[in-house]
C-alpha cells in the first residue's frame, strides 16, 4: 500500500509538473511590474529552476516530515484546507453508499429469487439504466425537475451563511440521490449474481430440507454467504464511486474533495492538487483494506493470522 502511494506521488508530481505555467509565471501575469530578473530570482528562491526530479525529491523530503506546503488559492496550509473537504466528501459518500447498498441488497435478492421472470428483467433493465446514465446529466435533470420546475429543493449544495441542520440536510438530498442512483445499478447486479450462485449451493438445499422457511433460508443462509464476492467488487468499485462523487460535487457546488481538486487543477494550485490526489488515493486504498478486514467478520474461515498474504 505504501508502494502504491509512493508511486502515485511520483506520477502525480510529474504530471502536475507538466501542467501549463508555474507559480512564478502566474505571479508575473498578476503583476506587470515584475522584471524577468525578478522572475529568475524568484524561481531560484522557490527552486523552480531545478529539474523536475530534484524538485520532487525536495518535496518528498518535506512531505515525509509533515510539511505539505501551502495552497495558492486558499492561502492556507494544504492539509488544513483538505481536512474539511475530506470530511464533507466522506459525509456525502457514506450516506450515498449506505443508501445504495441498503436498496441494492433487497432488490438484488428479489431478482435472484425470481431469476428469468419479468421482475428480474425489469430490475435488470433499471440496473443497466443506472449504470449507463451520465451522472452529470442526471444531476442536471434532477435540478431541472426539483429546483427549476417544482422548486422543492435547492440546486446548490452549499447553503449560504450559518444555517441549521435541516437546511444542510435538505441541500444534501439531490447530491445523495444522484450519487446513489449511478452506483446502485452495479451493486444490485453484483448482489443478484452472487445471490443466484449461493442459492444453488448444497447447503441451501439442506436448509430447505430441514424445514426452514424461504425467508429464513434466504436471509440467514443466503445473504451472508453471498456477501463476500459483493464486498470484493464493491471495494474495487470505490475508486469509481469517488469519481462519481467528484462529478456530483462539481454539479452541485458541494465543497468536498472532488470540487476542491477540480478547482485546484483549474486554478494551478499545484500543492493542493497534488496532496488532494494523494489523499483521495490513500482513502480509496484504506477503504479497500477495510473491505479485506470485513471478510473476517463475514466468513469465519478467513483469518489473517494463518495466511501471510
Amino acid at each position: 500500500m505504501l508502494t502504491v502511494i509512493f508511486v502515485m506521488s511520483f506520477v502525480c508530481y510529474m504530471l502536475l509538473g507538466l501542467m501549463p505555467g508555474d507559480p512564478v509565471d502566474l505571479l508575473i501575469s498578476a503583476d506587470p511590474k515584475l522584471t524577468s530578473e525578478d522572475a529568475a530570482r524568484l524561481k531560484a528562491l522557490y527552486g523552480l529552476d531545478q529539474p523536475l526530479l530534484n524538485r520532487y525529491l525536495n518535496w518528498l523530503t518535506a512531505a515525509v516530515q509533515g510539511d505539505f506546503g501551502y495552497s495558492r488559492l486558499y492561502a492556507k496550509p494544504v492539509l488544513e484546507v483538505l481536512w474539511g473537504a475530506l470530511e464533507r466528501t466522506l459525509v456525502l459518500m457514506s450516506i450515498a453508499f449506505l443508501l445504495s447498498v441498503l436498496l441494492a441488497i433487497p432488490t438484488g435478492m428479489l431478482a435472484a429469487r425470481r431469476i428469468h421472470t419479468p421482475t428480474d428483467y425489469s430490475i435488470n433493465f433499471l440496473c443497466f439504466a443506472g449504470i449507463s446514465i451520465p451522472s452529470f446529466w442526471l444531476a442536471l435533470m434532477l435540478i431541472l425537475l426539483f429546483s427549476v420546475i417544482l422548486g422543492w429543493l435547492p440546486a446548490n449544495a452549499t447553503p449560504l451563511g450559518q444555517v441549521g441542520f435541516f437546511q444542510k440536510a435538505q441541500a444534501l438530498i439531490l447530491p445523495v440521490i444522484t450519487l446513489s442512483m449511478v452506483s446502485i445499478g452495479g451493486v444490485t447486479r453484483y448482489v443478484r449474481s452472487s445471490m443466484y450462485e449461493t442459492l444453488h449451493q448444497d447447503y441451501i438445499t439442506t436448509a430447505y430440507a430441514k424445514g426452514l422457511s424461504e425467508s429464513q433460508v434466504v436471509w440467514r443462509h443466503g445473504l451472508r454467504n453471498s456477501m463476500i464476492p459483493v464486498v470484493t467488487i464493491l471495494s474495487l468499485d470505490l475508486g469509481a464511486f469517488f469519481s462519481g462523487a467528484v462529478i456530483v460535487e462539481i454539479m452541485f457546488a458541494y465543497p468536498g474533495m472532488g470540487k476542491m481538486l477540480f478547482d485546484a487543477i483549474n486554478g494551478s494550485d499545484y500543492n493542493l492538487a497534488l496532496v488532494g490526489l494523494l489523499l483521495a488515493t490513500l482513502v480509496t486504498l484504506l477503504a479497500n483494506f477495510l473491505a479485506d478486514v470485513s471478510y473476517v467478520g463475514l466468513d469465519p474461515r478467513i483469518s489473517y493470522q494463518e495466511q501471510s498474504k
Binding site: V4, V7, M8, C12, L15, L16, G17, L18, M19, P20, G21, H116, Y121, F125, F128, A129, I131, S132, I133, P134, S135, F136, W137, L140, M141, I143, L144, V148, R189, R192, S193, Y196, E197, S235, L236, L238, G239, A240, F242, S243, V246, I247, I250, M251, G258, L261, F262, I265, N266, A273, G276, L277, A280, T281, T284, L285, N288
Partner: protein, 297 residues
Amino acid sequence: MTRAQLFIKRMMLHRVAVVCAGILSLLFLFALSAPILEMILNTDASKVNLFTRYQPFSLEHPLGTDELGRDLLVRLAYGGRVSLLVGFTAAIIAAAIGTLIGLVAGYFGGWLDTLLMRTTDSVIALPLLPLLIVLAVIDLEKLGIPASIANHQDIGLYRIIVIVSLVGWTGVARLVRGSVLSLRERPYITAARAMGVPAKRIILTHILPALTSPITVATTLSVGNIILFESILSFLGLGINPPTPSWGNMLTNAQELIWEAPTLAFFPGMLIFVTVLAFNFIGDGLQDALSPRSKKR
C-alpha cells in the same frame, strides 16, 4: 423447463440486444447524415446567428436552436460523430493495450505477471476521474511536442482518445489474462511448446484467435464507459473544445441556461444515455450468446 420455454428465454435475452443494435444503427445513420440534414434544413450548424436564439421546435429547426442560434438537431448529429468516433477508437486502442498486457502477463507468468496485474489492480482501484482531469490539462509543449502540433485545433480530439484509452484497458487485460491462464494448460498448447514453437508464434496463432469472443465482449462493454468518460471531460471543458460540438460539451452551457432553455440540456444527455445503454445491452447480449456457460452472471 421445456425447450420451448428455454428458447423463448434466449430470444428475450437477445431481443433486447437486437433492439439496441437497431437503435445504435439509427444513431450511426443520424450522425453520418449530419451534412445531409444540414442541407435539407438549409442551415449552417457552425454559423452563429444571434437573431435566432432559443427558437422553439419548428419545421425549420425541428429541435429548436441553441444559445448562439445554431440548429440543435444538426449539432446533435455532428456531436454524435465526435462522441461515437472517440468511443470506438479509444475502445479499440484500449482493447489492444489490454490484450497485450493480458497476454504477456498470462502467458509468461512469474514476476512479470505479478507486476502487471498489481499495476492493473491499482489502476482499477484508483479514483480515475481526478487523474483524467490532470491528464487533460497537461501542457503538451512541456512534453516536447512541437507547438504547431500541440496547438492544432483538432488536438483535443486526439488527446482525449489517448487519455481515455490509457485508463480504459484494465478490464480487457484482466479478462485476457484469465483466459490465457486456462488456455496455457490445454494439451494443444503444451504440444506446441513441446514441438519447440516459439512463444510469440504460440501466442499469435494458437492463443489469440481463441480469445476473440471475450475481447469482443469486453470491448463492446467498454465503448459505453469510454463515451461516458469523454462526455464528462468535454462537459467539464477539458475534452472536445467548442466550437466542435460533442454531446458532452453541448451540455456545458446548458447547465447555466437551464432556466431559459431546458431542452438544450435534455437532448444531448438523452443521446449519451441511450447510446451507452445500447452498448451495454449489446455487450451483455454478446456475452450470453458467445459463452453459454455465463448464464449465471
